[in-house]
Every structure is written in C-alpha cells, then in structure tokens.
Symmetry: C2
Subunit: 403 residues, 2 copies
C-alpha cells in the first residue's frame, strides 16, 4: 500500500475542511431552525428573467455561449461591470478587471500571487472564514487586528505595523471587509477608511477590499469604497454576484491596478483556463437589460424586513443585561452576537442543536480559532416565521447558559 | 508609487501567460485558417437538448439550481458520473469523486495537494501545456520522459527513475495522457500501461491519468484505463465534459482513492467553495436522459471525418520524403507534425501566418520549451473546406522551408 501522507504538500497539510461547511451538515435536519448558513434568500432570485434570458442566449448565441472563452472573462460582461462600478464612483477599464469564479476565487488568486510561505498579511479579528482558508492554503501568516462597531481599529493597526517593522517584517497586504462585515456585521467608518488609505500609502502596503455585500445596504448612507478613495493603485477589490443576483452561477469579479490584474489572470489561466461562458452570457444580458438594480432593490427590502425582525426578537428575548450584545448591521446578511468572555459558544452550539436552533460558532472566524465567546447569525435565508421562533429558542439556550 | 514586483510571490513570478492563448489572439483574424486552437466543433453541441433541459431545471428546481451547492458537487450528477465510469470498468463510490471546474482545475488541485516548491513529477515529452502551467504555478520540478507512437517510453522512464533514486530523489507522481495524447495524438499501449502500473506499484509513486479525450475514439479498440488496471489506489484520473458535451459549462471530475479526493475537496473549498450549481443540474439531467452517449457518438463521427481528411491532405501535400512525419491518432482532437531536428517551428509560425494558416508551436509543450521542430494541428474545429485549403497552404510553407 502507498502511504498518501508522505506525498502530500505542506500546503494541504496546513488546511482543514471548512468548519462552517461541516457544521452546515448537522444543521440540515428540517426541524432545526438554522441561522448558520450564509445563503441568500431564494425569494430574491429572478428565476423568470433568467429563464427568458437563457433561452435568448442559447437561441441567438448558443455556439458561443457553450464554447471556451477568454481567461479575462466575457467582454460584454466586463463592459457591463465597468458601467456598474462607475455608478459607485470607480473608474476602470478592461485592463483593471478579471471575471472570477465568485469572490472566493478572487481570494485564492490574491493568495497565489502574493504569498510565499510565511509571508504576512493583516486581517480583521474576526474575519471571513473563506479568506482564512484561502490564505492558509498558501501558508500566509495572518496577523489580526481587532474591530469594533466602526470596523478595523486603526490605532491597533498602527501599533501592529510598528511592531512588525521592529522585527523587520512587512505585510504583503491588509485584508478588510469594509461594508457589512462577515461575520461581524459592522461597517468601516469614513474616517477610518481615510486613515487606512493613508497608512497603506505611507507604508506602501496593498489593501484587499472584499466587497460581497456592498450593494446590499438597507439603512444609512453609502460610504465611499476604499477603491474609489485610493489614488495610488493600492487597492484590489473583490465582488460577487452571489448576494445580489444568484450564487449558483459562481460569478464574481476583481478590480485593481493593471499590473495586479494581469498577474491574477495569469494565475487563473493555470487554475481553470476560464470562468464558464454560459453563465457570463446570461449575466451580461441581465445587466444590459437593466435588471440588476431592481433585483438588488427587491433583495434589500427582503433583508431589511428580516433584519428588523431579528433585531426586535433579540431585543425582546436575549438576556441583554447579563452582558450579551450584538451588532446592528446597516446591510449584508449577518449579525454577530458576543457573550461575556468566559462563555464557550463552541460548546453552547451542541445545546442549541438540542433545542433545534443553529448558529455558526464564532471561533471559525478567528486566526487560530482563538476566541470562543461569539457566534454569527444569518438573517437572509430563514423565513420571518423561523426568525420569530428561532431567536426565541436561541435566547432560551443562552439564558439558561449564563444564569 | 508602490512597486508591485516587490510584493509578488515566487510562484507567480515563475508563471507566464499561456503561449497558446496568446498565439490564439494572432490567429483570430478571419482570413487565417487556424489549426491552432483546441476547440471542439460547435456542430457537436446539443443546443436544443440543453435549451429544453435548462427550462425544466429552472421550472422544477430553480431555487436550488441557482443557490450555493456542496464543494464535492451536485449529488445526482455525481451518481450519473459513477454510472458512466462503470461503463468503462471503473467501480467507484461518491467518496472517490470530486466535480471540478473542468479538468484544468483537477490539474491545479493535484499541484496544490502534492507539490512543495522543488518537488519532482514525471511528465511526458511533449505534454499538455495546461499541465505545465498548473504544475509550474506550485514550482514543481518537471522531469520529462520521451514518448513515441505507443506513448511514454517505459524504458526511458525506468532509467529516469533510477537516476533520480541515485540522487536520493523520488517523484511525487507520474503525469500521463494515455488516450489520444495532447499534443502528440498517440495512445499508450496496453503493454506499457501494465508496465507503468507495475513501476508505480513497486516504487510507490502516484499516477495522474489525464483523460479528457478517452471517450472520443474513432478508430481501433478501447484500451483499459490506468484507473481500471490499478488495484493499489495508485491512480487519480481527471475527466472533463469539454470534449464530449460542451466546454462552456467548464465541468469536469476527478476520481481517485478517497484519501486523495478528500484532500482535493478541502483544497477546492479554499479555491472557489464549489462548482456552479446550475450547469451541474443541467449536466445531471442530460445524463439521466441518456443523451450523453448519442452526443459523443455524433461528435466522434464528425472528428473521424475531419481527421481522415486531414490525414489525406497531409499525405497528398506534405513533403514527407524530406523527413517530415506526423502522428495518426485513433481519437481526440490533435495530431503532431515533426520536422527534421534542425528546423525551428517557432520561426516558421510567422511564415505560416503570412500564408494565412496557423498551428501551435510545439515548443509550448516541452518542459523549458526545449524542442522546436514540431507543431500541433487541431482537426476538430476547422471545417472540411478549411482543412482542405489550410493543409495545402501549410504544406507549401513547410516545403519552402525545408528545400
């Protein structure tokens, strides 16, 4: 027999199955009300429009839509995305854009083009679990900086960079999720965005701006994106259709300085040759027909209602006085509940499952899983009824726990 | 200004844009007859069936087909693929299968789970250019073994392994394209397959069997796959729908020992979370309706005709007596033309373009681009008329060159 272990790379040995995806399997049972997933609401999917457009694409352009395409992406889709970005004050050309297998591939390509094993990147604490796994897969060393209700703590970032400098170390990039953070649900304030750009400029460090939820704002005013605020070519931003159109197409895009996008495309060529052509044709037509913004509007109104209800139920039932607190997101799909430090939400998870309700353990979102007193709740996928019943169930579990 | 070069990883610095994809841009001009691409014939695409099935999928199962899916792939598609593999004498379960973004992602994941920088793999000489780029992207060190009309030269493989052993080195795997090799068009004989499996068993080395063309046989009898011949869990095989269904879905699958597939799935999670769900639903239904085999049959009959014509035209016009020879594939999409050693097909390419005909330079398929006296010709994409006119044009160019 062959000993496979002897053959595996150090990279794969450093990787684990996604905790969330494994937990999701536990929470599949129909009697469990799950706030664990990160799924968009299927009510928001424009199925009829997709049907119609798919027929048109296959009728008019079938042989092209079913053929190989360019690594950079389908040019008419790129042009539509350039127009979409312009609505958000971002001026780019084709050379600044790569179409990807959703934003997870953007994270993978960022890892691939920047990390040698041991190279440092700054991430938020907590941060997106999929970024942790993409960066870990290149054995990047992640140094985390705490966040609060206004996003990454810039004072701590400064200290962290100064400390690294003393050790002769420089991060390859700073990874942030400025809008409606996953998992924390917070938004980086305008003031901190300015400071972050200043620091990146001064220290000559790239910023990776992960923006899957930016268009999903249901409260307050838009804050300019880091990409739009940067004049020095410091920012790469990652986007996805998963939360504003449909996740089942796995379509996203990365924008950035042409030197970086060029490397991402070279890396992508070796990874999968190109993004599927058919779904790009459909998405391009969907945008050309001006259907995206109405779809986003509908999605946002659904999430606004669900978020409002979840906050009301939390207010009503959660044992707030005992030091339990949660974030109040202005958009996105998630909020973040924190218990007093001594509680272990990995352990409480089992009790929640017994009471037929589920969340994602917060430890999954920390470098090295170091904090355990938080969990993430999703409000986009469960129904209004499930939110009502589920939050009550969960509040009972927590209340029991921290008596 | 930031100096991006300082930030890039060694991996990306080791990568180049695919020569072929760059060449293809030159050959896009409509008056050039191109044998350069690797595109399947659009005549083979079952557009009407795809239209019908897509409507059904969106009507019956729209919210699921547009939602996130499992990293392993859509289970009903996995089950159909298991049945398809059984027709080829391969008995596997779900735990032996991962659905991928076509076989290029299979190659990328193989690179990711096996290579530390500098690790060795054996490849054929020439070999598939996309494997070279996937493996180079992890800085695998590729040691090549010549092939002839019966595929990889096992005598040379033995010597190569003995030499490496003397240096205390052991390859992570042996990468082969046994059926209708890209670019060489040759097929590994049954005798050599047996020897290869024996060597892998004795030396405890994995085999990566790249099988994109296996079902596209238009002459002769099937030779058992390496996967079906192996009893020791030594083989990982990579497949794609690109050449037997449509490339625009970017759907493929990898099969192997469960320990390896498990690692590939973990790596894929970090790479793109999952393969698009919609196209997997369509492909699953296409297979359930027993439409794949008739489609393959139609494709094979088209390629058989085109291949026959190309061989006739080569026989008629190519200056054979001057030492020009070419392979006579029993399947697949490509044949391989070799000139006497002193000729440089990179240079002749420019002259071919002047005469409005294109091939892919053979050097792209060699480790380090070391041999230049060959080129690859594709017969699946050009029309019968283009094959007639194009081969004649090309023969004139070659004839002029080697006078």
């Amino acid at each position: 027999m062959i000993q496979y272990d002897l053959a595996f790379s150090k990279n794969i040995k450093a990787m684990k199955r996604s905790v969330i995806r494994e937990l999701l399997k536990v929470t599949q049972s129909p009697e469990i009300i799950s706030f664990a997933g990160g799924l968009p609401s299927p009510e928001s999917f424009p199925i009829e429009e997709i049907k119609k457009i798919t027929m048109e694409v296959l009728e008019k352009n079938g042989t092209k839509a079913l053929q190989y395409g360019a690594t950079e992406g389908f040019p008419p889709l790129a042009d539509e995305l350039i127009k979409l970005m312009a609505l958000d004050n971002v001026k780019i050309g084709r050379e600044n854009l790569a179409i990807t297998i959703a934003s997870q591939q953007g994270l993978d390509l960022v890892g691939k083009i920047f990390f040698n094993p041991g190279d440092i990147a700054i991430v938020e604490s907590p941060t997106y679990v999929g970024a942790l796994s993409a960066f870990n897969s290149y054995r990047g060393k992640l140094v985390d900086v705490e966040l609060d209700d206004d996003g990454m703590r810039i004072d701590i970032l400064k200290k962290t960079l100064a400390n690294l400098k003393k050790q002769g170390k420089k991060p390859k990039f700073i990874y942030v999720i400025p809008d409606f953070h996953n998992p924390a649900g917070v938004t980086l304030s305008y003031e901190r965005r300015k400071q972050l750009i200043e620091i990146a400029k001064k220290e000559k460090i790239m910023i990776i701006e992960d923006s899957p939820y930016r268009m999903v704002r249901f409260r307050g005013k838009n804050i300019p994106s880091l990409y739009s605020m940067d004049k020095e070519g410091l920012v790469v931003s990652l986007f996805t259709f998963s939360k504003i159109f449909v996740p089942g197409f796995r379509l996203g895009w990365a924008i950035g300085p042409k030197e970086i996008i060029d490397k991402m495309i070279i890396a992508k060529q070796a990874t999968d040759l190109s993004t599927p052509e058919i779904t790009q044709h459909i998405a391009a037509s969907f945008l050309q027909k001006k259907l995206l913004l109405p779809t986003v509007k509908k999605t946002v109104s659904i999430y606004e209602k669900k978020n409002k209800l979840m906050l009301e139920m939390l207010d009503k039932y959660m044992p707030k006085k005992k030091g339990v607190r949660w974030t109040k997101p202005d958009g996105g799909l998630f909020l973040w509940v924190t218990l007093p430090e001594k509680y272990d939400c990995d352990k409480i998870f089992t009790k929640a499952i017994e009471k037929k309700v589920a969340y994602v353990v917060g430890s999954a979102f920390y470098v090295g899983g170091k904090k355990k007193n938080s969990f993430r709740m999703n409000f986009s996928y469960p129904s209004m009824e499930q939110i009502k019943v589920g939050v009550k169930r969960l509040a009972e579990v927590i209340d029991n726990e921290i008596k």
